[in-house]
Amino acid sequence: MKTSTRVAYVSLVSCVAALAAVGIGAIVLVILGADVVQTYKVILTEPLKDLFGITEVLVRAVPLILVALGIAISFRAGILNIGAEGQIQMGIVSATAVALALPNVPKAILVPLVLLSGAAGGALWASIAGYLRAKLGVNEILSTVMLNYIAVQIYGYLLRGPMIDPAELQTGSGTPQSMRLPRSAWIDRIIPGTRLHWGIVLAVVLAILVYIFLWRTTSGFKLRAAGASAKAARYAGINVESSLLFAMVLAGAFAGLAGAVEVTAVHRRAIEGISSGYGFSGIVVALFGGLHPGGIIPAAAFFGVLLVGTDMTQRILSIPANMVSVLQGAVILSIISAKMLINDPYAMEKFERRFLHFKGQPVGQRAEDEESRKNEAKR
């Protein structure tokens, strides 16, 4: 197959997929009676107009990168972790608990400790689903979804009960939130006056480490092998079950870390709705980034724009911010369809036949014609 045909095919499929995703969003916008072009313009350009918008996009990108890295690891290993939402909340709970318990520990020790405990909380929560899948064959999508619902309740219970800020009880307002974290547990902001914090550096460094782990170490290779073909990996002596569990624990650790960073750098206390859908957006980011750290960072920035942008459409055009979920769903459906089509040699062959037929004659036909023309000339 000619390279030009391949390029044409891939770009055509990608364009159609992008149009399909935008189109699904447009249908919903038309039903709302909104100006489609105007709305998309606000979503995509408004967040990038000033420093505040750009820093907010990056603030959103940090948890998205962290969660997506974990999801990429788990997807590569062949276990679909949908439970990041719950793992984030468990990470927040454990990070908050440690930070509040040790207020007098110096910052240089406390911050890493808090982040690690957040990662541990997420990892522990994810290991339930990983264990059930590895040992009992329980479908991990269902179990992680259920664990999300359970985590929401545990989180709510802790914030309304044992972990509630005593001040809330005294004033009687009873807002479900924890005490403010001690200053020594805070991750500092980079630019004063904005919420951009050093967590972004951590996220980028971890992205590089994940790349090294997955593509430059033996255990990373084993993990990907088990995900690419469990049967073949088993023949090669890889313990697929423990690889699944390991991948799930890593994914949970990344989600938990995202929660810990979010609480220590942005909100500085555990509040309700802190994870705000990052667990699900992370799946979209991971897929959009091709399950590769190098793709995840730009993808996270893009979806950061979408998240901030849909918030702005709510304010400027009063289009509900739930719109972001519509777009994310549409993007997932388009991406996976496009990916399958691009990797399907038969579909490409079919396209080539039609494409070349469209330009003139089919390849084989043309050669035959030339032959017959030559014969004609000889005669």
């Binding site: 064959g137 329980v138 619902y149 519509v326 399958m340």
Partner: protein, 316 residues
């Protein structure tokens, strides 16, 4: 309260609870029997719940008022079938991995329902919903009459769909085709069964059921709409299909067991046994995980080609 009253009370709450689960899992059963694992059920139910609600809400003061519920159910069913077909396009035609596709459809459905609801309605608004329809004579039977024969029409329909689904799946040519494409699509293809078309049809039926299940939630159960009205029931329905071993009667048993357990936990609270309500809300989800863990170990065999896209061109 006498123990009998308590039991009857639990049943009279639990049985109507089971309807949406039952409808959704019957639909999912058709999907999975055809080899497609549709996790988008949750999103389809969400759209169904919204459409059921919005029809009742918009037309309740117009000439259409007597038919609003019917209209809502129809709209929910049609939208559900269309979303099922969208899922078919992605998973059957494009062979996309079904698990992720399901999550995509879930986000799309919940997002669309939420966006439209916020825009057109806004806050919590009640609707009259489906009236209960006591069956003459039967509802007069002491004790069991009010429990079993005093539900709304959609609930009766759902229970009637159990034997009907059994009949369709095991006694009709179409049911045989569905099971064939879900067990061995290549053999089915060899026997001139159109695998793609049969899977499309099964997904449309599954979507139709899930849409109506959603409409039952808003019209029959909650009599309102909220963003999180489905609250994981779509995923629970998928789990119930596993639990019910892909057979309609066992799925009925599963959804009854499940919803009765849920109403049992509610009754415990009513009786004054005190524990944080978050744990009560958590209970069904924990139950799903436990059930799944035990179902898998019981070596239940599902449709052999479940989750595998079929590509005619592919060499084996």
């Amino acid at each position: 309260m006498t123990p009998l009253n308590i039991v009857l009370n639990i049943l009279s709450i639990g049985i109507p609870f089971s309807v949406s689960l039952l409808l959704a899992s019957l639909g999912e059963m058709f999907n999975q029997r055809a080899g497609i694992f549709n996790l988008g059920c949750e999103g389809i139910m969400s759209m169904g719940a919204f459409l059921g609600f919005i029809c009742a809400y918009y037309f309740q003061n117009t000439a259409l008022a007597p038919y609003v519920n019917l209209l809502g159910i129809l709209a929910a069913g049609v939208a559900g079938a269309l979303l099922g077909l969208l899922f078919a396009l992605v998973t059957v035609t494009f062979h996309a991995p079904q698990g992720i596709a399901g999550i995509g459809l879930q986000m799309l459905g919940i997002g669309t329902a939420g966006t439209l609801f916020r825009h057109f309605v806004g806050g919590v608004t009640g609707i009259p919903g489906l009236p209960s329809y006591p069956i003459p004579l039967l509802s007069k039977i002491p004790f069991i009459g009010p429990v079993f024969f005093n539900m709304n029409m959609l609930a009766y329909l759902a229970f009637l769909l159990v034997p009907l689904s059994h009949y369709i799946l095991f006694k009709t040519p179409w049911g045989l085709k569905v099971r064939a494409v879900g067990t061995s699509p290549r053999s089915a293809d060899t026997m001139a069964i159109n695998v793609q078309r049969t899977r499309y049809q099964a997904l449309a039926v599954g979507g139709l059921f899930a849409g109506i299940a959603g409409a039952y939630l808003s019209l029959g159960q909650a009599k309102m709409f909220a963003d999180d009205i489905v609250a994981g029931r779509g995923f629970i329905a998928v789990a119930l299909v596993y639990f019910g071993g892909w057979s309609p009667y066992r799925i009925l048993g599963g959804s009854l067991l499940f919803s009765i357990a849920q109403s049992l936990q509610l009754s415990i609270q009513v009786l004054g046994i005190n524990f944080p309500y978050e744990f009560a809300v958590m209970f069904p989800y924990v139950l799903v995980i436990v059930v799944l863990a035990f179902t898998r170990s019981a070596a239940v065999k599902g449709p052999a080609a479940l989750g595998q896209p079929y590509d005619r061109e592919k060499r084996i």
